[in-house]
């Protein structure tokens, strides 16, 4: 049981980062970016190229994937989301779904369609494993949780404690007000999207050694991240993180009981239950639904 919870928190960290990315892009652009899962996959694949093709270490892979995610996010906002926005919010949402398939196909052209391995952060092909009171904990699981904590701390610091972070929140809150105090609102929007994509790519690298990277995993990751965001509260960053972790834990517990594959329908069912019982999410405010 505890074993499954640990495993759940690990995959859930990936969902939490996706959920946060969805939250950030939703705030900045008012659309749900369903391509978020593909950027998780892309991050993992970039790190794979750095480690297995260029034979550099996994830390460089992590940096390259995260920075690459940021740069790709700038391009994605400027050349995909922004032009699509002229057609309205629904158009952007549909375009983001279209991007899922473009990226899926693009990934398979470059990297093939089979899942690929990433080296464990503690080095090598076999991970270090500790046993404590009947529970096994792998070093990579600790790395994942540690890096999730680091990412959450960095985000909180940026959005709550820095002027530019506040300017981004202000731009989402009142774009007109932000422009009138001299904030370049378009740029704030670009940077928001870039941060969200960087987070997804980062998540792909830290969870990658456990889940493998590539293949068709992105769609499931995006949907589970979205379910996590809805359960936790789309307008609450804390809610998104908690919701993502929760989905991971539920998924692993169900898998442990009912076998592989049985968990997905139930996790998606959870989405419907959450929407019926508490549409604003665990940490969301009612005001958010009305907007």
């Amino acid at each position: 049981m505890l074993q499954l919870v640990v495993a759940g928190l690990t995959v859930g960290s990936g969902y939490a980062l996706v959920a946060l990315g969805i939250h950030i892009i939703l705030r900045a652009t008012r659309v749900i970016n369903f391509a978020q899962g593909e950027f998780v996959v892309l991050g993992g694949l970039l790190a794979y190229s750095v480690t297995n093709v260029l034979h550099a270490n996994v830390w460089l892979g992590l940096v390259v994937a995260t920075a690459g995610g940021f740069a790709i996010g700038l391009v994605y906002e400027r050349f995909v989301l922004r032009p699509a926005a002229r057609g309205g919010e629904l158009a952007v949402t549909i375009v983001s779904i279209g991007c899922v398939y473009v990226l899926l196909y693009g990934h398979s052209l470059v990297w093939g369609s089979l899942p690929l391995p990433l080296p464990y952060f503690s080095g090598g092909e076999a991970d270090v494993v500790w046993r404590a009171g009947g529970v096994q904990i792998a070093a990579q699981q600790l790395w994942v949780l540690g890096f999730l904590g680091l990412a959450l701390g960095a985000l909180a610091f940026f959005f709550e404690g820095t002027t530019y972070g506040k300017a981004i929140r202000a731009s989402a809150n009142s774009p007109v007000g932000a422009a009138l105090v001299g904030i370049d609102v378009d740029r704030a929007r670009s940077v928001s999207v870039a941060i969200a994509i960087a987070l997804a790519a980062f998540g792909g690298v830290i969870v990658g050694p456990i889940t493998l990277v590539g293949g068709a995993a992105g769609v499931g990751i995006a949907i589970k991240g979205f379910v996590g965001a809805v359960i936790g509260g789309l307008d609450s960053p804390v809610g998104c993180a908690v919701g993502g972790l929760l989905v991971g834990v539920v998924e692993k517990l169900l898998e442990g009981r009912l076998g592989y594959g049985a968990s997905d329908p139930i996790v998606y069912g959870l989405l419907i239950v959450a929407l019926l019982v508490r549409p604003q999410g665990l940490f969301g405010s009612r005001r958010a639904i009305r907007d």
Partner: protein, 241 residues
Amino acid sequence: MSALLDVASLDAGYAGLGIVSDVSLEVGAGELVAVLGPNGAGKSTLLRAISGIEATRTGGSVRFEGRDIGGMRADRIAKLGLVHVPEGRQLFTELTVDDNIRLGAFGRPRAFVERALGEAYERFPQLEARRTSTAFALSGGEQQMLAIARALASEPKLLMLDEPSTGLAPRIVAAIFETIADLRKRGTSVLLVEQNAYLTLRVADRAYVLEHGRIVLSGPATELANDARVRAIYLGGSSEE
């Protein structure tokens, strides 16, 4: 020496819908200039076309300190020192009073921002008591004070105020007008759009009257206050005296 703000034969509106036509208007350095006019005359549209938000300019020119700012992005215009407090205020309702004021001085060095914050609370002590509340939680009067404080934080050369007294209690209206008169005294230029013609003509140097998107009357405030037409329409028999 040309005027600080020089609007010449401006046509402006929204997506093919012309609202303001052939408007020429000037604000000199240190001047307090008012625009009066009935609801729907295009006063807000005029300010929006100048500051570059929502409305678009279709003809004529807008110059600020001699520089052509027609078609410039709103954030660039604000950075030049032309700051607009719009109708509806557009505060950052989810952020604190402190952060709203600080963002008013966005892009300035830290020392400048902190000094601006101190000055804002000196001007509006009532806001200091609410500094950690969100702007959303403020009363209407406090929100208007915050909107003005945020705009002043960047030490603008020209402040454009769109109906700052609308919907506020008489005591608050008096306080807002005192603030405006004080700005004038300190040398900040102001372009003021108002419904309250009586108080406006008492603080303004000059005024323009806008009807159906056109300037129909202009002159020194004292002259307009005695104009028969203005008295009849905007001062409504002047019962306030």
